[in-house]
C-alpha cells in the first residue's frame, strides 16, 4: 500500500512567556492510503497537535518549526508539500482533501446556524463547479419542458441564470457571480446553488445514518442529541469525500452505546469511501476496534508504530507495555504507570520516558533513541532494541 501522507521530522513548539513547549519533536509518520491509523497516547502527548499540524491549524502561539508533511494526491504525482503551500492552496485542501472531526460535537458546531447551513457551506466552498453544473441542469430542464404564460415570462431570467451557472460550472471563479455574492439582495439570485448544496447535504446526512435527514438539516445544534451532533460533524467532514479523515477522539464525549455505533460508522466509511482515517484516541480499546495500525506517542515523540494485532500481542516499547497493562482486565489487578507525564517545559534529556521507565539504562538519560524497524512494519524508538 502506498503512502497518502508522509510526515518527516515534524517539530511543533509553543513559545509562551513561561518558556518553550516541545509539543511535537522530530516526528516521522506515514499514513497509508485506505488504512485507519490510530494515534494513542496520554493527554498532552501531542497526538492532537499532530492531527492539527497536518491541517496547519496549530493554534497561536504554537508554530511548526521544521519538518515536512507531504500529501500524495492521485491527481498530482510527487505529492504536495503541505508546509510549503500558500494559505489559499492550503484552504482548498482543508475540508476537501483532508478534513477533521473534533472531540466535542457540542462545541464543534456553530450554535447560531442550522446543521444544513453548516454542511452545505462545505459544498458551496469546495464544489462550486459541481453545484454550478447541477444547477445549470435544472435550468435547462425548465427551459426545455416548461411552457405556458408563467414560463414565458420567466424565460429571460432562466436564460440569464443559465449563463451564470454555466460560468460557475466552468469554474475559474468568474467575475459576475463573485460580484453578485457580495451584493446582499442579488446574492439570492444564486439560490439554486444553495438548493443543490442542500440536496447534497441531505443525502450526506442520510449516509451517516441520520433518521429523517431533511428535518434535521433545518435544526440548530442545540436541538440534537450528542450522537446526532457527532454524526452531523462527521457528515460535514465527509461532505467532499476527503482522502484523509482525521478523527480527534470522536467518541470520547459520547456514551458507550453511541460509541459503538460511531466506530461502526467509521469502519463503514473506510470501506465505502475508501478514505484513510487518522484516528486519535487515548483509549486502546477503541483503537483496537477500528485501527489497522497504531502509533503510540509519548511527550511529543513517537514510541512505537505497528499493526494493531502486532502491537497488542507483542508490545515492545516499555511505555506501550505500561499502557497495555494500564487497561483494566477482568481478574487481573490494575497496573498503573509510575510518575507523571513529562514536564512540557523542560522535558527530561535523552529518552523522555526514562524517568518512568522500569528498564531504563544510563544511555537512556543521554541520547534519544532513534525509531528503528525491528520487524516488518513494526518500529520502536527504544535503546533496548
Amino acid at each position: 500500500m502506498e503512502d497518502l501522507v508522509r510526515i518527516r521530522d515534524l517539530t511543533v513548539r509553543f513559545h509562551t512567556y513561561e518558556g518553550v513547549v516541545y509539543a511535537i519533536d522530530d516526528l516521522d509518520l506515514d499514513i497509508r492510503r485506505g488504512e485507519t491509523l490510530g494515534i494513542v497516547g496520554e493527554t498532552g502527548s501531542g497526538k492532537t497537535m499532530t492531527a492539527l499540524a497536518i491541517l496547519r491549524l496549530i493554534p497561536y502561539p504554537g508554530k511548526i518549526e521544521s519538518g515536512s508533511i507531504i500529501l500524495f494526491d492521485r491527481s498530482l504525482p510527487g505529492g504536495l508539500e503541505l508546509l510549503k503551500l500558500s494559505e489559499d492552496r492550503m484552504r482548498s485542501i482543508r475540508g476537501c482533501k483532508i478534513s477533521m472531526v473534533f472531540q466535542e460535537p457540542g462545541s464543534a458546531l456553530n450554535p447560531v446556524y442550522t446543521i444544513g447551513d453548516q454542511i452545505s457551506e462545505v459544498y458551496l466552498l469546495h464544489q462550486r463547479k459541481e453545484l454550478g453544473s447541477r444547477a445549470k441542469q435544472r435550468v435547462d430542464d425548465l427551459l426545455g419542458n416548461r411552457d405556458g404564460f408563467a414560463a414565458s415570462v420567466k424565460r429571460p431570467l432562466w436564460r440569464w441564470q443559465r449563463r451564470l451557472y454555466n460560468k460557475i460550472a466552468e469554474g475559474s471563479n468568474p467575475l459576475e457571480p463573485r460580484i453578485l455574492s457580495h451584493i446582499p439582495l442579488f446574492r439570492r439570485l444564486l439560490w439554486r446553488l444553495k438548493d443543490e448544496a442542500g440536496l447534497l447535504t441531505v443525502s450526506m446526512l442520510k449516509d451517516v445514518e441520520i433518521p429523517d435527514p431533511d428535518r434535521v438539516a433545518g435544526r440548530y445544534p442545540h436541538e440534537l442529541s450528542g450522537g446526532m451532533k457527532q454524526r452531523a460533524v462527521i457528515a460535514m467532514a465527509l461532505a467532499c469525500s476527503p482522502e484523509l479523515l482525521i478523527a480527534d477522539e470522536p467518541t470520547t464525549s459520547l456514551d458507550v452505546t453511541i460509541q459503538a455505533q460511531m466506530l461502526e460508522l467509521f469502519r463503514r466509511i473506510k470501506v465505502d469511501k475508501g478514505a484513510s482515517v487518522l484516528f486519535v484516541t487515548h483509549n486502546l480499546g477503541v483503537a483496537s476496534e477500528v485501527c489497522d495500525r497504531v502509533a503510540v506517542m509519548y511527550a511529543g515523540r513517537l514510541c512505537e508504530v505497528a499493526g494493531v494485532e502486532e502491537i497488542f500481542l507483542h508490545p515492545l516499547h516499555p511505555y506501550t507495555r505500561a499502557l497495555l497493562d494500564a487497561v483494566p482486565k477482568p481478574g487481573k489487578e490494575l497496573q498503573t504507570i509510575p510518575g507523571a507525564l513529562a514536564d512540557a517545559f523542560n522535558p527530561p534529556p535523552g529518552c523522555r520516558f526514562h524517568p518512568r521507565c522500569p528498564s531504563a539504562m544510563p544511555t537512556c538519560q543521554q541520547e534519544r533513541a532513534k525509531l528503528k524497524e525491528v520487524s516488518k512494519d513494526h518500529m520502536v524508538a527504544c535503546h533496548l532494541f
Binding site: R94, V112, L125
Partner: protein
C-alpha cells in the same frame, strides 16, 4: 413562550419599576422642608408672606404617603403636573423636548454601534497586531475622556478658532423662521427628517451643522465602550471549537471572522447597545447642557438643578418606561440572533 403574552408580561414589569423609581425620588425630595419646596414657587424674599399659602395650596406639609398618593392619582388621570423649569405641563415638556434628543440619538446610536462593532471585530481578528494596539489605545483614551471636558475642548476649537462654523443650539435664527413658517410642515419635530420630508436643503444643512459637535461628544465615550466589549467577546468566540471546525472546512479567515465568530460575539453587545441607546435617548444631560442643545436631557438638568420635583418625577417615569421597553426589544433581538435563547427562559 408566545410573543404577545411575553410582551404583556414584560410590560407588567413596568409597574413595580416605575413605582419604585418614583417612590424613591419622592422620598428624596421629601427631605426638603415644606418651606424649601414652597420657596420654589416664590420669586424672591418679598413673597415670603405667601409661603404658608402655597404650602397649604399644594398640601406640602401633608404626610409623605398622602402627597405621593395625590401625585399618583394625578398621574393616573393623565396629569404629570407642571414643569416649573420650562413653564409648561410636564407631558408637553417631554413631548416637545424628546424629538431633539431623539434626533441626537438617531445620529449617535448607529455611529456608536457600527463603529464600535467594526473596530472591535478588527481588533480581535488581529489580536496583538498593530491595529489591535492602536484601537485599544484609542478606546481606552476615549473611555477615559470626561464628556464635559471633551465638549468644552471641542467648543474651544470650533467656536473660537473656526468661529461660527458649528454653532450651538438646534437651528440658526434664519432656519428657525423657515421651520416655523407656514410652508414648512413639522411632521416629526425632528429637524433633519422634517427638512428631508419638506425637501428643504438649507434647513437640513443647518440642522446637521448644529448636530455635529454634540454627536461627536456623545459618541466618543460610547464607541470606545462598545469597541472594547466587542473585542473581548469576539476573542471569546474566536476561541470556540466551531471556529476551528470552520477553519478545518477551509473557510477563508474573512468568512470565519465575519460569519461564524461575529454573530456569536454580537450577543452581549446587543444588550449593551440597548443600554447605550436608552442612555442617549434618556438625555445626554451633560452634552445637551454644554451645547445648549435643548433636548430632554437639558430639560432634566434644568429641572433637577431647580428642584422642579414634578419634572424630575416625570423624567424618571419616562426613563423607566424607556428602560423597560429597550430591555424588551433587546430580548426579542436575542431570539433573532441566537436560536438557543427562548423568550422569557434563558439559554436552553
Amino acid at each position: 413562550m408566545e410573543l404577545r403574552s411575553y410582551i404583556i408580561r414584560r410590560l407588567l414589569l413596568l409597574i413595580p419599576v416605575l413605582f419604585g423609581v418614583t417612590l424613591f425620588i419622592f422620598g428624596v425630595t421629601m427631605l426638603f422642608s415644606p418651606i424649601e419646596r414652597a420657596s420654589l414657587y416664590v420669586s424672591g424674599i418679598r413673597d415670603l408672606s405667601d409661603l404658608p399659602g402655597i404650602i397649604e395650596r399644594f398640601g406640602l406639609d401633608k404626610p409623605f404617603f398622602t402627597q405621593y398618593g395625590t401625585w399618583i392619582t394625578q398621574v393616573l388621570h393623565g396629569n404629570l403636573g407642571w414643569s416649573l423649569a420650562v413653564g409648561m405641563p410636564v407631558w408637553d415638556a417631554i413631548r416637545s423636548f424628546l424629538p431633539a434628543t431623539l434626533e441626537l440619538a438617531i445620529f449617535a446610536a448607529p455611529l456608536v454601534v457600527f463603529t464600535g462593532i467594526f473596530l472591535g471585530t478588527r481588533a480581535a481578528a488581529h489580536k496583538d497586531k498593530s491595529i489591535d494596539h492602536v484601537t485599544r489605545i484609542l478606546a481606552i483614551s476615549g473611555w477615559s475622556l470626561p464628556t464635559f471636558w471633551l465638549g468644552l475642548i471641542l467648543m474651544m476649537v470650533f467656536y473660537s478658532l473656526l468661529r461660527g462654523f458649528f454653532p450651538p443650539g438646534r437651528l440658526s435664527v434664519e432656519m428657525d423662521f423657515v421651520v416655523h413658517s407656514a410652508g414648512f410642515i413639522r411632521y416629526t419635530q425632528i429637524n433633519t427628517i422634517d427638512a428631508i420630508l419638506n425637501l428643504n436643503g438649507p434647513v437640513l444643512l443647518d440642522a446637521l451643522k448644529h448636530l455635529i459637535l454634540p454627536v461627536i461628544t456623545i459618541s466618543t465615550v460610547n464607541i470606545a465602550f462598545i469597541m472594547r466589549l466587542m473585542r473581548s467577546s469576539m476573542l471569546e468566540s474566536l476561541g470556540k471549537g466551531y471556529i476551528l471546525t470552520a477553519r478545518a472546512k477551509g473557510l477563508s479567515e474573512r468568512v470565519v471572522v465575519n460569519k461564524h465568530a461575529r454573530r456569536n460575539a454580537l450577543i452581549p453587545v446587543i444588550t449593551v447597545s440597548g443600554y447605550v441607546f436608552a442612555g442617549l435617548a434618556s438625555g445626554a444631560v451633560i452634552t445637551e447642557s454644554i451645547f445648549t442643545y435643548k433636548g430632554i436631557g437639558w430639560w432634566a438638568y434644568q429641572a433637577a438643578s431647580r428642584l422642579d420635583i414634578a419634572s424630575v418625577l416625570g423624567f424618571a417615569l419616562f426613563t423607566g418606561v424607556l428602560f423597560v421597553l429597550v430591555n424588551l426589544v433587546v430580548d426579542i433581538l436575542y431570539t433573532r440572533v441566537d436560536p438557543r435563547v427562548r423568550l422569557g427562559g434563558g439559554v436552553q
